[in-house]
Amino acid sequence: MKEYQVCNRCIMDTSDSEITFDEYGVCNHCRNFDENIRPRWFPNEQGQQMLLSIVEKIKQENKNNDYDCIIGLSGGVDSSFLAYKAVQMGLRLLAVHVDAGWNSEIAVRNIENICKKLNIDLYTHVVDWEEVAEVQRAFLLSGVANQDTPQDHAFFAGLYNYAVKNNVKYVLSGLNFATEGILPASWGYMAMDLKQVEGIYDRFGRKPLKTFPKVSLFKYLVYYPYIKGMKVIAPLNYMPYDKDEAIKIMAKEFSWQYYGGKHFESRFTKFFQAYYLPAKFGYDKRRAHLSSLIVSGQLTRQEALIEIEKELYPIEQLQEDKEYVLKKLDLTTQEFDEIMKSPNKTFRDYPSNHYLLEKLRTIRGLLKK
């Protein structure tokens, strides 16, 4: 058993089994941020210029089309703020919302307010709920940590497939280094790996999937970008992005409302991040999120240490949400307790393209040098 240790710079700790510390007690995530992420992050004048020229190019290329680009809208902070910024820059957006059956009232109200006030057209892809539930049920039975994979895969597959089908080349993504710069690999797994989704579903699913949105790694990494010309842009990495500030602006501009907690706009994600992960694996995703804010300079380490001590999930709310989640996923309390008690599994225990992805990463790394 490793001795407990917290990074001296961020607040990542040994709950990440793969964490390493240097002689100053600074963790590998901080180092990775400095070496690999910071060079690609432009929250400054330079970023503004870069973004401006990207936007000009998008507008130029799409002047004969109805829309310049597609934006995935969940009602959460990142995608909402991105929509606001993109409209300010004069981009004609088509917002695409992928509904996987877990929307909260706040999420749908945020989407409505954004689209109305910013005058954005909206398209919704409603995923067959019974299939989403089956895939999520299968993932829970598999005992892996990456329970966000079914929803995330459906979101991104739905978004990318729609963009390519409708010939919209640019997809705006709310991904950003300012709030997501640190995320330990051992805590999750790449949701785009269809082999993992299907591998786990083959073992634990109960009926064939007919309409669940899927995108293979080949399509995602090769066919869509190189043959179909789809480009995913993350504009939030080319501007200063302060979450608290963003929330204030959005509340004022279009009555946007915070739902408390990163990605808690989905009822499932909340239950998964605030209960399943900490209780079964000892992972507290807030730790990675707060650490991201520290290294991106939005929060002091002291503030983060106070924040992480706050109660993660008030017990009455946990009970209510647990009942709701289990009922929706057709699991009994006994079945769920069994899952919580069973040995923890990792994505490596099931089929995946992890090996291939690692190879690709190495090749890309070599090519860069």
């Binding site: 009232e105 749908v108 409505e112 909206l122 919704t124 009922k327």
Partner: protein
């Protein structure tokens, strides 16, 4: 305090999913009914109507398992319709917590059911829905069996008849207007609501709060139900659950 006529989202069930039809046809999948009910709950809607649009056609009784899960999720008054043909079913559904049941086909085929049910459970819990389509000659006709079978009844005449049998409310659905978002059939609503003393809920065609107001003031409806308006957004008909706030309803003259 404002006078608040009821504004009722009308949700359609097909198998275990929520759908929206156009003229009672082409059901489009809208997602999980449980989550939708939960969202409407949090939007504080006054009342919700849940109608199973295939039960009668499939010659089966209501999906009680799904209904009990829906009932457990909802805090607002709800009515259920679709496939109800016995007193026992009425009893079970009211027992789950639904405030009212909606009866359509059986009201024509077995009028005694309305009389017995209202006698047992009170008129206030028995709603008769009348699905209306104009026939070849432009005359209104009441339809049964999920809008597939025409009866000889004029809707106002059928409304009067079920009122006498003890129905507490009429749910008046225009098949021609359903899902078109082109405004209510005000003439139809007026004709029926002027022929009976019991409340008439108008349904079919609403696109915005002004339409609700027109059904109330011009059509003389007592309550307004709508489907598309509460589940679709914008020109791409994006699925997005919404409900007007008090301010909008006051401004449109629905609350006065």
């Amino acid at each position: 305090m404002y006078l608040r006529p009821r504004v009722i989202p009308c949700l359609l069930l097909k198998n275990n999913g929520l759908v929206k039809t156009v003229k009672f046809k082409d059901p489009r999948y809208l997602g999980d009914p449980i989550n939708a009910v939960r969202i409407f709950n949090e939007k504080y809607v006054d009342e919700l109507a849940i109608l199973d649009i295939v039960a009668t056609k499939e010659k089966r009784s209501p999906n009680l398992e799904l209904l009990s899960r829906i009932a457990a999720e909802a805090f607002m008054p709800m009515c259920y319709g679709g496939g109800i043909s016995t007193l026992d079913e009425v009893k079970i559904i009211l027992g789950m917590g639904f405030e009212k049941v909606v009866i359509n086909t059986s009201a024509v085929k077995n009028p005694m059911l309305i009389q017995e049910a209202s006698g047992h459970f009170g008129s206030q819990s028995i709603v008769v829905s009348i699905d209306v389509k104009k026939n070849f000659f432009g005359k209104y006709r009441a339809y049964i069996n999920c809008g597939e079978v025409a009866t000889d009844y004029d809707p106002a005449e059928l409304a009067r008849k079920v009122e006498q049998l003890g129905a507490g409310e009429i749910f008046l659905n225009s098949i021609d207007k359903d899902g078109t978002m082109s405004g209510y059939d005000l003439g139809l609503i007026k004709k029926v609501s002027e022929s009976v003393g019991i409340p008439v809920i108008a349904c079919g065609g609403a696109r915005n709060v002004d339409d609700l107001s027109m059904a109330l003031h011009n059509g003389k409806a007592d309550a307004m139900a709508a489907g598309s308006m509460f589940v679709y957004y914008g020109k791409h008909k994006a699925v997005l659950i919404t409900f007007p706030n008090e301010e909008e309803l006051i401004k449109a003259g629905v609350f006065t």
